[in-house]
Symmetry: C2
Subunit: 449 residues, 2 copies
């Protein structure tokens, strides 16, 4: 029943291609879905990929191209003329995918392809889409949609919808506009089918429609669609005129990328790297945070040097414990803030949050402190050392919790991605300051006892 | 045009409620969408919330209930009889939402509500949905869908679809089944409208349909829907019989939760906590990782004690640097692996990955080592110390990169969530082992010079 299960062995496909049996390889691909076909084609030489792609009808090969990895697609498209790209690829795609593919081409090729699109209206729409700033709703939307005028009656509306629907693959919603193309609301198919043909649309549509502006950030669009469980959202310009629509499948990737970005920042990776990237690229993405960590390490050495480890060398034993605990607590606090900011929770009252996080810090600090007092004394029977570790732990934990909460909130106010604070940055800061607290308290206690 | 903008001030609404003017408060809510209404109602006393909710038509109040926070909903539902819940809430919801709400009720109430549902067929469907294991496609799906038999012709098909569509809010797809309810494929509305009414469905449908099994994990369903850009996916049982469908809006939350879970694990939070949770709950979620970090700290102290810091107390200066660098590098490596596993990348060849990550480690290690040799010598003019730091850095970085790659891969093979490895676990391990390397090398170098 599920044909993609039958021929799902990539090794079998690879063997067919290596034997030069492209006919049989094509028969295998034909049974698969575009994303699976793209996965297999990406592993081939450009020439082989092209030969296989050309066997598909242009409708299908366009869909496969959309699914290919960007780099591979660019290489592959170099093999085709501007005219071929316009006719075989662009004209078979929705405007959003078409604009994406054209935007990846070199400037000269862009103009060449656009000028070869037969339907002037389509070429204009794509050119318009290319003007929107990256990462905005305008750059994400497609222009294919069904719209009807509020002054039409049901009969005219159905007729127009049929005409418009011919050019559109999937109907997600019917939008109602006025004579100036201002978006007024949506129309349910149910109402349309159950009302007399002479009823004017203005009496039928629902004005409760959520829309986004072309200039809105795509992350915000994602948040809105997610909050309101929308499958599709209309996009309007600054005047409220309907320009396009965004479907959820494009937004799902943004939601995931956004979450992954936070994760990468928290893990100390500066660029969007994957483990299949080159050793050089990976090393470059990793070095900045390692270096920040090392600067922290040098500062820590200065702190230790300043207090003079020779006086009480046994204090060296718990340097790692103090630094690690401060780092761990700080990252936890920062992650909670980042997550609640990412969820778009309102009322980020800094004072209230700090109070709460400091209470959590106090509670965990006391627990850890008592535990460590007992453990360290059992291990080393050094009262001054145990007192130092226990009392500085409370201070370090409360301090780290405060920093972890405060820093991302401030970064957010300054319009810097607060997730930066969950990475080695907060660990490093807390390392240095934690040691400062530890040695200061240690100096007092060892001096007094 | 966008009504939710007009009355969007939560403070105004709160004021109306506190003045006891529920009529005016209701007028405000009426203009909002269900998720926004739920947000405002959650901040009220249960009595006030109930009074406002009761003013809505049951269709709307059911939708609002679905959007409420689980705890608040449970409190609110205690105010209603089983009959009221069945008639006002459950009968107005899609089966998936209905089953979710019933599943939260105490056992006794569950039976009470189910028995009060008027439509026996609906009650049976919901009871069936409740039998599926949590986090599977079966627990996520809704049973409302449009299905037609392959032996019907277009005319009968359209008639049946109209009848079925009456009970369904939104038509996502038309599924074709055989006499045994086995899913065969999907039917496009376009084909249905453009073909002669006598054509049998078996000549029209597309057999290239992606489906999931009731027993499949919801994370896998999310991955499939995301990969194939699906807005809706049909769910079949072990025999291939069509049981229900899952829409993308339910899956978007899973995709985000999954990504957030990795992030929480990497940040050392064990439970799914938010910063609005209680101080006690937050402390409990944070303690485990802090304690693991402290165990690491104690082990580190034993390492330092074992090598005897008194012999070369200046080595204490770079304890933090060595530990922090090992931790940072390990987390980076682990995050790359976790991410590529989450993306479902196939061919996780452990040996190949290790080789690559070790190359990255060697490259970054040499860079850091040279830099630190210069810096530490400039700061402390101690050749033995600088040599120790520089040579152990290379070893620590390569070692940490290897651990960071190896541990999550092994955890994954053991079916443990590999994201566990990106948290304090890997930092802690690398702290201890990093210090071991540092002091071993230090002992050799200080002994030789």
């Amino acid at each position: 029943m599920n044909p993609q299960v039958v021929n799902n062995d990539p090794a079998y496909f690879a063997e067919l291609v290596s034997q030069g049996d492209l006919d049989a390889a094509f028969e295998v691909l034909k049974e698969l879905h575009a994303p699976d076909i793209a996965e297999r084609i990406e592993l081939l030489e450009i020439g082989e990929a092209q030969a296989l792609l050309d066997r598909f009808a242009s409708m299908e090969s366009a869909e496969i191209l959309v699914e290919l990895d960007e780099e591979f697609r660019q290489l592959l498209l170099q093999e085709y003329s501007g005219k071929e790209i316009a006719e075989e690829v662009i004209e078979n795609l929705d405007s959003d995918d078409a604009a994406d593919i054209i935007s990846e081409l070199p400037e000269e090729r862009k103009r060449e392809v656009l000028s070869q699109i037969e339907d002037i209206e389509q070429a204009k729409q794509i050119a318009d889409l290319l003007t929107h700033a990256e990462d905005t709703a305008g750059a994400l939307m497609a222009t294919e949609l069904i719209k009807v005028n509020q002054n039409w009656n049901v009969l005219r509306c159905v007729k127009e919808m049929r005409r418009q629907a011919e050019e559109i693959e999937q109907v997600h919603a019917v939008y109602v506009v006025d004579d100036n193309e201002i978006l007024l609301g949506t129309l349910s198919l149910k109402k349309l089918l159950t009302t007399s043909t002479k009823t004017p649309i203005k009496n039928l549509y629902s004005p409760k429609v959520i829309s986004v502006k072309t200039s809105q950030q795509d992350e915000e669009v994602a948040r809105i669609m997610q909050k309101y469980d929308l499958v599709v959202v209309p996009v309007v310009d600054e005047l409220g005129r309907l320009c396009g629509r965004i479907t959820i499948d494009d937004v799902v990737d943004i939601i995931q990328e956004e979450a992954e970005k936070d994760y990468q920042l928290a893990s100390g990776l500066t660029a969007d790297v994957e483990d299949r990237d080159s050793v050089m690229k990976l090393s470059k993405a990793r070095l900045p945070w390692i270096l920040i960590g090392m600067i922290g390490g040098i500062l820590s050495s200065k702190v230790i040097d300043y207090f003079g480890i020779e006086t009480n060398p046994e204090m060296a034993l718990f340097i790692t414990l103090i630094a690690a605990t401060g780092g761990n607590v700080g990252v936890q606090s920062a992650a909670l803030v980042v997550q609640s900011l990412a969820r778009g929770s309102e009322g980020t009252n800094i004072k209230e949050r700090l109070q709460k996080d400091l209470s959590v810090g106090l509670l965990t600090g006391i627990a850890c402190s008592l535990l460590m007092f007992g453990l360290s004394y059992a291990l080393y029977s050094n009262l001054a050392l145990s007192l130092t570790v226990a009392s500085s732990l409370i201070a370090v934990i409360i301090f780290a919790a405060g920093m972890g909460t405060f820093v991302p909130l401030v970064l957010n106010k300054l319009n810097v991605d607060p997730a930066v604070a969950t990475g080695p940055f907060i660990t490093t800061t807390n390392d240095v300051l934690g040691l400062f607290i530890y040695f200061t308290i240690g100096g007092l206690i060892f001096g007094a006892l």
